[in-house]
Amino acid sequence: MNAHAARTRLLVAALAGEPYVRDDRGYELLVRSAREADLLGRLAWRYASTGRIDEVPDAARAHLVGATNRGRAQHAAVRRETQAIADALRSVHTPVVLLKGAAYLLAGLPPAHGRLFSDIDILVAKERLGDVEAALMLAGFATTHLHPYDQRYYRRWMHELPPMLHLKRQTLLDVHHTIVPETSGVALDARELFRAAVPIAGTPFLVLSPLDMVLHSATHLMHNEEFGHGLRDLVDVDALLRHFGADPRFWPRLAARAGDLDLGRPLYYALRTASRVLGTPVPEETQRAIGRYAPPLPVRALMDRVLERALAPASASAATRWARRALYLRGHWLKMPVPLLAWHLAFKALRRDVEPA
């Protein structure tokens, strides 16, 4: 087996609660792989929930304990922060949808277990973006990426504002108005997402409907240029599918919803990769239904190979780093039309920023 495939397999087995490491060096590789993939918290949760944490030798267990401590603190911080966001946006009177980690946590969904956070993502209607940004600024959030080019890049072409940073608490907030870049050519009407969104009991927030949440998570995985969190994102997709898939109405509607939102291709790749890498059960009818979104065979074979390499921990092999560079280019390719992409990359390459003090 290739080095990258072996590393992924080691981590995936342990994340599934069936670790096959026995000696200290095996645990060393496992801890390192999980940390690189931002899955150390998830691994710790799995060991704890399967009652196997005591099998782990002290030195490795220390890191699982550390990740558990950090995860607990981050979960508390996300709950506090979302409360502060709710307070800040109360006067704006507009639906606020939590996305990704914060959504999983507040809605009590399985990907939240052991998940580590770097930011909070919310989705609001595009026409209320100005009011939302102003209200958040009053509450202490400030925009980042102050270079005029970056500001224009986000505001004109992307699906989100430049990331906002709370000046006192240093929390990062991404304010989205849709789930794919405006320049990507995907014909997705964000109003559809709001129409299907469901409230989280006991909070003023909404989350995407189960179908849309899976599609967003698949799109996030497949449209992202940075693949460092690729396996973590795939673990999210897997956990959501296993959870929502228990409802008999879920699977038959998934492919059609992907078609309606023009997200068939990312769903195809995400399901294929999740079932190949994590053994996610996908019913045969769904596999047949999404077959029409498949790329031509040579592209499919190439993508299988690239994705398999890119999902391995970064230090696994040079192949992993090359595969991630290829996906970085693909991510940009999907994000914007070629002339714009050329302009963007040329600008990024040539500009000289003053180093922050």
Binding site: D23, D24, A59, H63, A67, N69, A314
Partner: protein
Amino acid sequence: MIVADLSPSELRHRLRHEGLRLCLGPVAAEIRSPFPVVEAGIALHYARHRIVADDAFADFHVSVEPPFGIRRYVGPQALFRFDGSTTFHPLPAAQAFPLLEWGLNWCVSAQCDHFLVLHAAVLERAGQALLLPAPPGSGKSTLCAALVARGWRLLSDELAILDLDAPRVHPMPRPISLKNASIDVIRTFWPNAAIGALVPETLKGTVAHVRPPAESVARAGDAASVCFVVLPEFVHGASTAMQPVGRGEAFMRLVDSSFNYAVHGRAGFDALGALVAHARCRTFRYGGALDEATRAFDALATS
């Protein structure tokens, strides 16, 4: 086996290929670097450090290496990598050894949330550990080197690695980092100190490292109970003065100097509370008279 047991060519081979797996106290690091300055720094400062057994666990995998592309050849740079990814901006290649030191500090301060980690110098005498938590510029490292010169055991000049269930600190005896004027001050005060190469023009000015004493390194596994918390303040020309300080103030200063207090929530609060309840807390002002300063600490330890 310790680093000094390796021949120069074995050390070079490990640093360039399979990695040098060093025991640093409560953690072990696998280090790689092709830079001769890193090799020389390790040969000098880590000579007495234990190499972990081949089948034992290493916590961190770090390297200091040239970046890809043109900066390999033009204005050569050094890049710190942790788990295959970069965390800091590259620095000039001449700063490769200080970069390794800063990188290792970062590994502990950012990746060891099973401990409560503070920015503090830690020393010990007669089984009683002393914490010197302090912001940069308070003369913490100078004071630390001076106390080591007078026979205190070095646990760390930079990181207090504390347990959460008892006021106990784990040693991580590594080179003491001196900067600018304090390098000559320590050369004069401690003529036998093994001081490594001067590295000019870093972000912190000129830096040089002092090799940790062999006895401190040999006792890297011996945790100690925290008995003193002293908050140092360097005021140029001021006379030496050690004064009792309230537990509340000491507590707040410890919180300010912590890297991961917030991670531990209630457990962190309780741990620092127990620590200031157990330890004698003092403020300490000094103006550069190191002899007098070290006597004040000796008096505290024997009082």
